[in-house]
């Protein structure tokens, strides 16, 4: 095993073969030299790394409930401040909260919103695998339009999810925090740069990281990097950051690939390639292009 990478998260955890979550965790935690305390929402990361009576974490780690990773992080921050005031703590540790999209977009949203609004000094990392993948692929607020999920399956009359995904970046931005960014597990150098920036800002910061799920996006275990790259090259998942309200796009694909190239890699979009669902693909393409245009406008507006 790699000694440097396993400094904070050890191998021997039970994530699916070919899952990118550990790569995200190692990259984010590897971006700092200071001591760190990790708070974690329920989700794939939590159930796979902390199987009783073992743990894969070599850093202090707290998991309390599904929806309150951010609230727990806020508590740690408050405790550190109190201890520092009394002279019992010399140097504060960094606080990083990890949550899946279920624990961030849906269940943990109010805890996240509260912690951001109170201005606690922590970094929240959401690894977005676009559904409740740990429990068998139910739909979440992050599931894209047209995807086949367990609770909104595709069939003769339905084409999968009928609603667009939530724009979490705009929701988080509305809290007026100084740094937030959208990253992708396929571009780990970019993620590392963003994690460094986020940890360097005082006050709350937020990272939204795409994490292709081999098991329930339904693609071979060896493909998470390729699927992630296609998501960015088709503009489905643009890489950008918002620093003090200023938008910066970090990666502009040389030539925007058609969305089909991303969709066809995954079993959850297989039904869209049937003749009767062709218009759904066209609708997805329109949304992707619209969102990209909107993002470009936000960059040029400032």
């Amino acid at each position: 095993m790699n000694k440097i990478l396993t400094d904070k998260l050890a191998p021997g955890h039970a994530t699916c073969a070919g899952c990118g979550i550990p790569a995200i965790v190692r990259t984010v935690l590897g971006a700092m030299d200071e001591p760190v305390i990790v708070s974690n929402a329920t989700g794939c990361l939590e159930v796979t790394t902390t199987i009783y009576p073992n743990t894969s974490w070599k850093v202090p780690y707290i998991h309390s409930a599904f929806g309150n990773a951010a609230a727990t992080a806020a508590g740690i921050d408050a405790a550190q401040k109190a201890l520092e005031k009394r002279g019992k703590l010399k140097k504060k540790a960094k606080i990083v909260a990890f949550g899946g999209d279920g624990g961030t977009y849906d269940i943990g949203l109010q805890a996240l919103s509260g912690a951001l609004e109170r201005g606690h000094d922590f970094l929240y990392v959401c690894y977005d695998n676009e559904g409740y993948m740990n429990t068998g692929g139910q739909r979440s607020g992050a599931t894209p339009y047209g995807a086949d999920t367990e609770t909104e399956p595709a069939g003769d009359l339905a084409f999968g999810k009928t609603r667009q995904r939530k724009d979490l970046m705009e929701i988080v931005k509305a809290h007026g925090i100084s740094y937030l960014a959208e990253a992708n597990v396929a571009y780990l150098q970019d993620l590392k740069k963003k994690a460094k920036k986020a940890l360097g800002t005082s006050g709350p910061s937020f990272l939204l990281v795409l994490q292709p799920c081999t098991n329930l996006w339904k693609f071979p275990t060896s493909q998470y990097v390729n699927v992630g790259k296609l998501a960015t090259e088709t503009n489905f998942w643009p890489l950008y950051e918002i620093e003090n309200g200023n938008y910066v796009i970090n990666y502009v694909p040389r030539e925007r690939k058609p969305i089909e190239e991303f969709l066809k890699t995954q079993g959850r979009f297989k039904h869209l390639f049937a003749e009767k669902n062709k218009k759904i693909i066209a609708a997805i393409q329109r949304t992707v292009d619209d969102n990209w245009k909107k993002l470009q406008k936000k960059v040029s507006d400032i």
């Binding site: 095993m1 790699n2 009783y52 998470y224």
Partner: protein, 96 residues
């Protein structure tokens, strides 16, 4: 909180996830130049770089000779094949 409520990482207790694999990644000495592209994307962090052995030197390419080589820890490797897919030189091959 009682003392036993805190669980610490112990290396000997970590499950050996190497049992999961049905395909095994094999590093091709003649192709690997030790660029390290595979390392950070490995979900188990099972890949590290090491110096080349003497007998490997003879098989190595001109570029690779002076550089390190990827080594995979089969105790934890789950055999997902990510390293073989992203290797720019196709120096890792999945074998049964």
């Amino acid at each position: 909180m009682e003392k036993g409520a805190i669980i610490k990482y112990k290396k000997e207790n970590a499950p050996k996830t190497g049992d999961w694999k049905y395909m095994k990644p094999v590093v091709d000495v003649s192709k690997c130049i030790g660029c390290g592209s595979c390392i950070e994307h490995c979900p188990e962090a099972a890949i590290s770089l090491r110096n080349r052995l003497k007998e490997e030197m003879e098989k190595s390419s001109a570029v690779g000779k002076d550089r390190k080589i990827a080594e995979i820890d089969f105790e934890y490797c789950k055999g997902c094949g990510v390293c073989a897919t992203i290797c720019p030189l196709k120096a890792i091959i999945m074998k049964k």
